[in-house]
């Protein structure tokens, strides 16, 4: 029986990725060796979280670590499956209401999707900063759905949890923004070949529009339709790229693509996740999103860590006003815990642990209460971390989620 989060005040939810344990990373790699430290980690977390049959994983890792032969496909699949079970056990122990796989199944949010849609080709590494890079692909033909992308992952999660499931899917705007648009630009340039002059900016936008609408129609909608047919009730559309190009034509493109993706799927709830973004700009367009019922956003990162429920101590959450002013009537996935490195001196509501800030339950409570006061309706609020916690260790993730639950409980008591 699936537990429904709807009836609970301030339901709690995960946003996306959780760090892949070292045994998960090495366990599917051909050139890394599993060490006793990795095995100990699998064993101690397995015991701590009471992961069903975790000893099977430990035994498998031991066998692999002493074997000279290559890791088999069966080993890889089993290790991947266990990483999902560990994440679900973590969420279960903490008591989250809406859960998923921590994206253990996926290489990375962009790559996972474009690897599984026909028409894309991964090109190579592009510099992000310092010695960090990302893999970028190009669209070389009209994108086309050929096989289910998230279904196996969903069915596995469904089999191993009785909590409400929310699937994160990388949104069309982000896929287009992070891909080279070779196919559509080439097509348009060919059409202009006989013209004396070409306006490259105009061509760029036309090509981008064609790309995104084809991607939605021919690849993402069939995937969403299939997932819904198979029982998916909540899809979170991840769109980290929106507002990075703040022009009106870009924002309209995002709105049109989102509406085209969600149109007519009435049995499924759609939410949108965005972070580290310009919320004033985003708010202006959210009322045009016809089927988005919840905005899951980062706020803790832009907030102070002092205790208090007034606007001065809660500057991060004051940004909710933009959405109220614009008339967005849906719910919010309220980011109440910071997910990246923290530098500086924390306020009265948090402590620093290495490169992490650990919020106190009271700080979480105050953030929720301030938001509830501002929105004038506590039932519009769900509680989550700012973004995926994949850059934090499991120990820190555990602490943060635990604090999130305790703080949410305090807020519920206060409202009651």
């Amino acid at each position: 029986m699936v537990r429904r989060a709807k009836s609970i005040l301030f339901p709690t939810q995960e946003i996306g990725s959780i760090a892949k344990p070292s045994w998960r990373v090495k366990g599917v790699s051909s050139d890394a060796r599993i060490t006793s430290k990795d095995i100990d980690e699998a064993s101690s977390w397995g015991e701590r979280l009471a992961v069903p049959d975790y000893q099977q994983l430990v035994n498998r890792l031991r066998k692999i670590s002493t074997s000279d032969t290559a890791i088999t496909e069966e080993d890889k699949i089993s290790i991947r499956d266990f990483s999902v079970k560990y994440v679900l056990a973590l969420f279960d122990k903490i008591g989250l209401d809406r859960v998923y796989s921590g994206e253990q199944w996926r290489v990375e949010m962009y790559e996972h999707l474009v690897r599984n849609i026909e028409g894309f080709k991964l090109l190579g590494s592009v510099h992000s900063f310092d010695y960090k890079y990302f893999t970028k692909g190009e669209v070389i033909d009209r994108p086309r759905f050929t096989h289910p992308i998230h279904l196996e992952e969903f069915e596995f999660v469904k089999e191993h949890t009785n909590r409400e499931i929310k699937i994160p899917i990388t949104g069309p705007y982000t896929v287009v923004d992070w891909s080279f648009n070779e196919f559509y630009e080439t097509e348009l340039r060919k059409r202009s070949a006989n013209k004396k002059r070409i306006d490259l900016r105009k061509t760029y936008f036309e090509a981008r529009r064609k790309f995104i609408l084809d991607l939605v129609k021919n690849a993402l909608r069939p995937e969403v339709e299939l997932l819904i047919q198979k029982g998916v009730k909540w899809i979170q559309i991840d769109e980290p790229a929106i507002t990075t190009r703040p022009d009106a034509e870009e924002m309209e493109l995002f709105v049109d693509a989102t509406n085209a993706l969600t149109k007519g799927f009435t049995s499924c709830i759609f939410s949108l996740h965005n972070c580290y973004s310009d919320y004033k700009l985003l708010a202006h367009y959210t009322t045009k999103l016809k089927d988005i019922k919840q905005l899951a956003l980062e706020f803790a990162n832009r907030d102070s860590t002092d205790l208090g429920t007034d606007a001065k101590t809660r500057p991060g959450y004051v940004d909710l006003k933009h959405f109220e002013t614009e008339g967005f009537e849906g719910g919010f996935g309220l980011g109440i815990t910071h997910v990246h490195d923290y530098s500086g001196k924390p306020g009265s509501g948090a402590i620093v642990d290495g490169r992490n800030v650990i919020e106190s339950p009271k700080l979480v409570r105050d953030r929720i209460l301030f938001a509830a006061k501002l929105l004038k309706d506590p039932s519009r609020i769900s509680v989550n971390p700012d973004c995926g916690l994949r850059t934090r260790s499991w120990e820190i993730t555990y602490k943060k989620l635990e604090v999130m639950m305790e703080g949410t409980k305090l807020a519920r008591e206060e409202i009651a």
């Binding site: 592009v126 510099h127 010695y131 890079y133 190009e138 923004d177 080279f180 002059r197 490259l200």
Partner: protein, 339 residues
């Protein structure tokens, strides 16, 4: 004077897949500094050889050691504190560490600090006796620097721009001694989302113009001034009045030729950024040559410099290199046409 046809890169080039692997390994403590240095050296050498073979006339080492376009300056200018926080590099999925101005800024003693960010063996491959070919460096311009730092000291953008211009002037005067014959001053902030982002008014443009006139009107070295990531049509007329500039650059992926067709370049060359630095599509040489020809006939410059609209670091290396070859071939077509 004969119409000149030149070609160059816009700034930081893409790192090779091997360099990507080695830098990642270095970051994770899996390889040594020595291996890292050797890898960068061979990567830059490969690039310089490619530029020479392709017929590029203003040659750089790809500035592969520059972690971002601001870093050598934030690490070397006194008064600038190197930042830890990452900021988005315009509208790209690329980031820089935003420095803060914490006290009065002073220039480094000389320009040799740039050698720490150059691959000398690669630059030594550039022929020194060929008049047509020059060693080139791209740097951020004073307005761009002033727009991308966090100012905790001057509290006046005009003053900040002027101070950066003075520092750059000093650096620029030291470049010939380091073997550089050409410098490209990149000013994306002048045009990026004009009116809404960095440059919001003509008044602000004036502070740039006066700082420029004061410090760069009689340069000891050839200067290209390039604007990109935005539409330059609203400020091009003002930029065309600047003295001391050999070539003025336009990002044609953002600026339509129609919007500037009434302007004339006169004694300046056009740095024609029609090769898209942010798209994997490889422009055929014939297409580049045709685009440049139309731009030449419209804007009447005294020469043309063919270059990517922006840095090529946004592309995987293989594609960035293909763009260089295409530019080189396009220049050969243009030279024939000009003759």
């Amino acid at each position: 004077m004969a119409f000149s046809v030149d070609s160059t890169l816009t700034g930081i080039h893409s790192r090779s897949e091997r360099t990507v692997r080695v830098t990642r390994d270095f970051d994770r403590g899996r390889t040594t500094k020595e291996v890292l240095n050797t890898t960068f050296e061979s990567d830059s050498e490969d690039l310089v050889k490619l530029e020479i073979d392709s017929g590029i006339t203003r040659i750089s080492d790809g500035q592969l050691l520059w972690q971002d376009f601001i870093r050598p300056f934030s690490e070397s200018i006194s008064g600038l504190k190197s930042g830890a926080d990452l900021s988005r590099w315009y509208d790209n999925n690329s980031f820089y560490r935003k420095p803060s101005v914490v006290k009065k800024m002073t220039a480094p003693n000389d320009s040799s600090f740039l050698l720490n960010y150059s691959v000398q063996p690669a630059l030594d491959l550039v022929p020194s006796k060929n008049e047509k070919i020059k060693r080139k460096l791209s740097v951020p311009g004073p307005y761009t620097l002033a727009s991308l730092v966090s100012d905790e000291f001057y509290h006046s953008k005009a003053e900040l721009v002027n101070n950066f211009a003075k520092i750059l002037k000093k650096i620029l005067h030291g470049l010939p001694a380091l073997g550089f014959g050409s410098i490209q001053i990149n000013e994306p902030s002048l045009v990026y989302r004009y009116g809404e982002s960095a440059l919001t008014s003509k008044k602000e443009l004036k502070s740039f113009i006066s700082a420029y006139e004061e410090n760069f009107s009689k340069p000891p070295i050839e200067i290209y001034l390039h604007t990109y990531f935005g539409d330059c049509s609203k400020i091009l007329k003002d930029l065309l009045k600047l003295e001391g500039i050999t070539a003025l650059g336009i990002d044609f992926t953002q600026t339509s030729l129609d919007s500037i067709e009434k302007l004339r370049f006169g004694e300046k060359a056009l740095a024609c950024g029609c090769v898209d630095g942010r798209n994997s599509l490889i422009e055929p040489p014939e297409w580049i040559a045709a685009f440049c020809t139309e731009a030449i006939q419209t804007l009447k410059p005294n020469g043309i410099v063919v270059l990517p609209s922006s840095e090529l670091k946004y592309l995987p290396r293989a594609h960035a290199d293909k763009k260089i070859r295409s530019i080189g071939k396009a220049c050969k077509i243009l030279e024939t046409k000009v003759k």
